[in-house]
């Protein structure tokens, strides 16, 4: 369950997070192993379990703050850590979908 506190929640900075395009997210083939394939570009990459959860949330049309809530529910992790994971992963995902993985 969530380890978050009220004071943590005051610093949410998702407004600056730029999401991948929804049509791109919808077409992604996502396997249980974390292997991702974009049939539109041919790019493929792998993600860890947390990344997989974030990606699935985005694919369902969830906003980052909803995804954050899901992560806090599922994992024993601090609010700060989960928030950082969501922000960093969405940025990384955008680069990977554009063919520029770090």
């Amino acid at each position: 369950m969530s380890n978050s506190t009220t004071s943590d929640n005051e610093n949410i900075s998702f407004s600056k997070v730029s999401l991948p395009k929804s049509d791109v997210l919808k077409r992604l083939a996502i396997s249980e192993s974390g292997f991702i394939f974009d049939p539109g570009t041919g790019y493929s990459f792998s993600v860890n379990e947390t990344g997989l959860n974030i990606l699935r949330g985005l694919q369902k049309g969830k906003q980052p703050d909803n995804i954050l809530e899901d992560l806090l529910t599922e994992y024993q992790v601090s609010f700060r850590e989960a928030e950082r994971d969501v922000i960093e992963y969405i940025g990384l995902l955008r680069k990977q979908l554009e063919g520029n993985p770090e």
Partner: protein
């Protein structure tokens, strides 16, 4: 006529060369047909060099014949095909090399009179894919193309940067060969190498940064593009040829190729090569009037395009293929085949392979 009635056809296919860094498409076309529902067709491999492997791979070619090099002229080519036809009674011929397409287009009516059918673009359609008309053709497709010019000497490179032709540039042969160059010295070396292999002029194209995507299909000559298969290169050889690739689906790429086919009513096999830049915009690199060497992927994704071509040639209803299976990957590899010296001797001395 239905597909099952196509068994027993004798199909001659050119381009049986298969050097790993730049293979001809012939063997892959033969493989598609051998694995199609026209399983009992007889495949005759046609090629120019006794070491071309199609002559010896009996799983793909039942027999093979040497052709005279294009420099020998069209009469020599026609005489040779007439000679082969007398032995083999060819039903269909599929040219697979850019350099021989103009000759086969000009000879097609004579071959047709002999009973050898083909499905080729017209001479005018063939001219559309000339490098100097790429801009016009790209316009039909609704996309852009990098500037291109033809040159006949290396003096172009001495002051090209002052004339809006800054490096890097792509030096290309009139039919084959392309090299990205970053300096005038490299450019002159590439020019000389390509000119010695493919002759003059040599083409200079502005370099486009991006990733290469290809589409192959068959045009029905009425403006329709049949059974398109799209591919992104995952690995390339030193010559930029696909070593591995994955089937993709991009609606914009399909729209561009279909718009082109609709405008010029392309007839026959086609490969549409584009670069996609970081903004997702396509730039037309070239159009090839034949199947690509990676055509076996079409069989792999459920759209056997050589089979479609045979159906068009024989006026058979076109198979209603399912959507191409995106995510299928091809990986090319090199392999040795072992032959007896007598097999090689037969090709060298008699110009034809042992019947299988």
């Amino acid at each position: 006529m239905n597909i099952n009635e196509l068994t027993g056809l004798t199909i001659a296919i050119t381009g049986m060369n298969a050097k790993p860094d730049n293979p001809g498409p012939g063997l892959a076309v033969a493989r598609c047909l051998k694995e199609s529902r026209i399983t009992k067709c007889k495949i005759i491999g046609l090629s120019y060099d006794a070491l071309d492997p199609g002559f010896y791979l009996s799983e793909y070619c039942n027999t093979g014949y040497l052709l005279p090099y294009p420099s020998a002229g069209e009469n020599a080519l026609l005489d040779r095909i007439t000679e082969i036809h007398a032995s083999e009674n060819i039903d269909i011929i599929i040219p697979c090399l850019d350099s021989e397409l103009p000759s086969f287009v000009r000879l097609s009516h004579l071959l047709n009179e002999m009973g050898i059918l083909s499905f080729l673009p017209s001479a005018e359609q063939l001219r559309f894919r000339n490098k100097d008309r790429l801009k016009e053709v790209a316009g039909y497709a609704g996309i852009k193309t990098p500037d291109i010019t033809s040159i006949t000497s290396t003096s172009f490179f001495e002051n090209c940067e002052d004339n809006d032709w800054g490096f890097p540039l792509v030096v290309k042969g009139i039919f084959y060969g392309a090299k990205v160059v970053y300096t005038a010295t490299d450019a002159a070396t590439a020019f000389n190498q390509i000119a010695s292999e493919w002759g003059l002029p040599v083409l200079i194209q502005k370099f486009t940064k991006g990733e290469e995507y290809n589409l192959t299909a068959v045009g029905d000559g009425k403006g329709n593009l049949l059974n398109s298969v799209m591919m992104k290169k995952l690995a390339v050889t030193d010559k930029g040829k696909a070593w591995a690739g994955v089937c993709i689906y991009d609606q914009n790429l399909l729209n561009a190729a279909e718009a082109l086919a609709k405008t010029i009513k392309w007839r026959g096999p086609l490969e549409f090569e584009v670069m996609k830049n970081d903004n997702g915009d396509f730039q037309l690199i070239e159009i090839n009037p034949r199947f690509p060497a990676w055509i076996y992927l079409s069989k792999g994704v459920g759209r056997n395009l050589p089979e479609t071509l045979i159906q068009l040639i024989t006026d058979t209803p076109i198979s209603d293929f399912t959507e191409a299976e995106v995510g299928k990957i091809f990986i090319r590899y090199a392999e040795e085949t072992i032959i007896d010296i007598s097999d090689f001797e037969k090709i060298v001395m008699q110009g034809n392979a042992i019947q299988q």
